[in-house]
């Protein structure tokens, strides 16, 4: 760890400027690309992190196993591997298991053993996809809560998380990410504030194919966690960001909320703004606050949430952490700093700073998000289907 007590340096520059860095890039046409550029981009924000965590999420990298759950597991001991593999073998059909290829990188010390398993669920155990996903989530939670020497850190289909203790550019090299191709990548450089820098605590956080990278602090972690535990989620990664991944899984997958509305749960419009809204919107947002008050994310945050086919950038409602959006051709970029986007896309067509609490969404096959003229935390012009959704939620 950086010795923060020793602040004098030959540059006369004593300030610790750390703050997490996040970056996301997606080709909405579905065209895949390697991890080379995102490693460069996140590496250019090196000074925001302190080497205690770096990680990436990739979507579309295992097309040959697209229908299988790709579990990625970190092992801290040989016995941990034996125990967890025995657990997996008794609950899933293991189609393929292999060690995740890594390179020796000097900056990466004492890495755990990292394995991946392509798993199939016996459909006699579950009637439909919903039950199958519940089966998978339950077993991930069980493994991560029960085994001390190993944990599942990626459990979606045709996607993967790669993460660990180190600067993100070193983690990228360690996991050979230049050799994978995906249509959507997110990345994180960590500056741990309140919780330990360990391999499981690096971002992204994941469940099924949902991933989250985060800059900020979720001060409402305690209440969010208690609420999520009622739905079977178990927080084992010792870090606030974990609740965002489970909250998105609950709201978007299980409760079927549209992204724009889930954003209003996490970054709920302030009461003082609700007073000034027309009745239907006011009632909708009031209902959301009543139903999901315990999922309100308090504190400063910018997150990039991703799942199959979608990348979402969201900040807290008063934008206490930065986010810049860039678009070019069929590419969408989200970054803590604009310079990181321009480094890998010098001919960037558009760059703007979105309003707080408003999601920026890139969807496979859709047009890129455009800068809106309304910029407040609650723009009047915004519309998404209000009525059907209220009952559904």
């Amino acid at each position: 760890m950086k010795d923060l007590g020793h602040v004098n340096n030959p540059w006369g520059d004593d300030k610790v400027i750390d703050a997490c860095s996040i970056f996301g890039m997606m080709d909405v046409s579905g065209k895949t690309f390697s991890g080379r550029d995102i490693i460069t981009a996140i590496g250019s924000m090196h000074d925001r992190g302190n080497g205690l965590g770096g990680g990436f999420a990739v979507y579309g990298l295992y097309p040959e196993y697209a229908d299988l759950y790709a579990f990625h597991v970190m092992y801290l001991s040989v016995s941990g591997k034996t125990e967890i593999e025995s657990y997996l073998n008794s609950r899933f059909r293991v189609v393929l298991s292999e060690e995740v290829p890594t390179r020796r990188v000097r900056a990466i010390e004492n890495p755990p053993k990292v394995w991946r398993y392509f798993l199939e669920v016996d459909r006699r155990l579950c009637d439909d996809d919903v039950e199958e996903e519940k089966y998978v989530v339950d077993h991930v939670m069980e493994i991560n809560a029960s085994f001390s020497d190993g944990f599942v850190f990626s459990s979606g289909k045709n996607m993967a998380v790669f993460k660990g203790v180190g600067y993100p550019e070193d983690i990228g090299e360690f996991f050979c990410l230049d050799s994978y191709e995906g249509y959507l990548w997110t990345a994180h450089g960590r500056f741990p504030t309140n919780t330990p820098g360990w391999w499981g605590g690096a971002h992204p956080f994941n469940i099924l194919d949902w991933t989250v990278v985060h800059n900020g602090e979720i001060s409402s972690y305690g209440i969010n966690r208690r609420y999520l535990e009622q739905y079977g989620y178990r927080c084992t990664m010792q870090t606030d960001t974990e609740v965002v991944a489970y909250a998105m899984d609950l709201l978007l997958r299980r409760h079927g909320l549209p992204v724009e509305m889930a954003a209003r749960v996490l970054a709920a419009p302030l009461w003082s703004r609700l007073e000034h809204l027309p009745a239907p919107e006011r009632e909708l947002y009031t209902s959301l606050r009543q139903i999901y008050g315990s999922l309100l994310m308090n504190g400063p945050f910018t997150v990039i949430v991703a799942h199959q086919g979608e990348m979402i950038g969201l900040t807290d409602r008063i934008r206490l952490r930065p986010l810049t959006v860039g678009t070019s051709g069929t590419r969408l970029y989200l970054s803590s700093e604009e310079s990181a986007i321009r480094l890998i896309c010098p001919d960037l067509e558009n760059a703007w700073i979105p309003a707080g609490g408003r999601p920026i969404v890139g969807r496979l096959g859709d047009a890129l998000p455009a800068r809106r003229s309304g910029r407040s935390s609650l723009s009047k012009g915004e519309n998404f289907p209000l009525h059907a959704q209220v009952q559904g939620g």
Binding site: W11, D13, I17, S44, M45, D47, R273, H276, I318, R319, P322, T324, E337, E338, S339, A340, R342, L343, A351, W352, I353, A355, G356, S373, G374, R375, S376, S377, S379
Partner: protein, 257 residues
């Protein structure tokens, strides 16, 4: 300003390529160049380097091509920085004197805690522009934003001037920002266009600019128009609104017995 630059001898213009350079190296190089008598420095390929121009106390000109990093011109006292691109967060942080001109937009907390100098932004600014600016005597920081700003403009503002020209607004020319002037207890914010009074901080009063205000507005508009090649007369059309602090010590009783 044009006359000043053209009067400088060409041999004192120095070039620098910042591509791949760490911010510490870049700023150390800048300080060396200033110590060596450089009066105009052109830096190409700027990409995210922080604190450019920090603590430089000489009246030189620095032209930046690319995207400078956070806290551009922090604590600087004297230089004239021109950015051909966008600025990131914290541009002009605690700036003392000099001028920063952005041919693009600026990120959050532009001009935070500035105590002098001028910042001109061609387009929009992010959240909390002008937060905690202050003034003393003749030292009066100025932030001119050609477009509009996001929420918390002039938050805790204790002095100085913010001018929004609204050139990026469409239709109604209403500035779409919330919590403007929250905690404001000094200085003035001038808006070209309108703002819903419900979106102002409770410490903020609204009036028409008086003749002295208009003198200041006209001179800043003239400077903005010259810098960015805009039509000065057109920018002066349409009404201006003045936002001012209703109390100079809004929290005077909070800590009193």
């Amino acid at each position: 300003m044009l006359n000043e630059t053209s009067a400088e001898p060409r041999e004192q213009t120095a070039g620098l390529n910042a591509g791949g350079m760490h911010y510490r190296q870049l700023n150390a190089t800048l300080r060396d160049m200033v110590a060596g008598g450089a009066q105009r420095i052109e830096i190409k390929d700027v990409c995210g380097q922080r604190y450019i121009g920090t603590n430089l106390c000489a009246p030189l000109a620095i032209d930046l091509h690319g995207t400078p990093g956070n806290d551009l011109g922090a604590f600087m006292s004297g230089p004239r920085i021109t950015v051909y691109g966008n600025a990131q967060d914290g541009c002009g942080n605690t700036m003392d004197d000099g001028r920063i001109v952005i041919h693009g937009h600026a990120g959050d907390v532009t001009g935070l805690s500035a105590r002098g100098g001028k910042i001109f932004i061609r387009d929009d600014a992010g959240y909390r522009a002008g937060i905690h600016m202050k003034e003393y005597g003749a030292r009066r920081p100025v932030v001119v934003i050609g477009g509009t700003a996001q929420d918390f403009l002039g938050e805790y503002m204790a002095g100085g001037v913010i001018l929004l020209l609204g050139v990026t607004l469409e239709g109604s020319r209403a500035h779409d920002c919330d919590f403007v002037g929250t905690g404001m207890h000094g200085g003035a914010i001038y808006l070209r266009g309108t703002i819903d009074h419900a979106r102002l901080g409770r410490e903020v009063g609204v009036s028409d600019p008086d003749e002295n205000d208009m003198l200041l507005i006209r001179s800043l508009v003239a400077e903005y128009a010259a810098l960015f090649g805009r039509d000065e007369a057109e920018l002066l059309q349409g009404g201006f609104v003045k936002l001012y602090p209703r109390w100079l010590r809004p929290y005077g009783n909070v800590y009193a017995y």
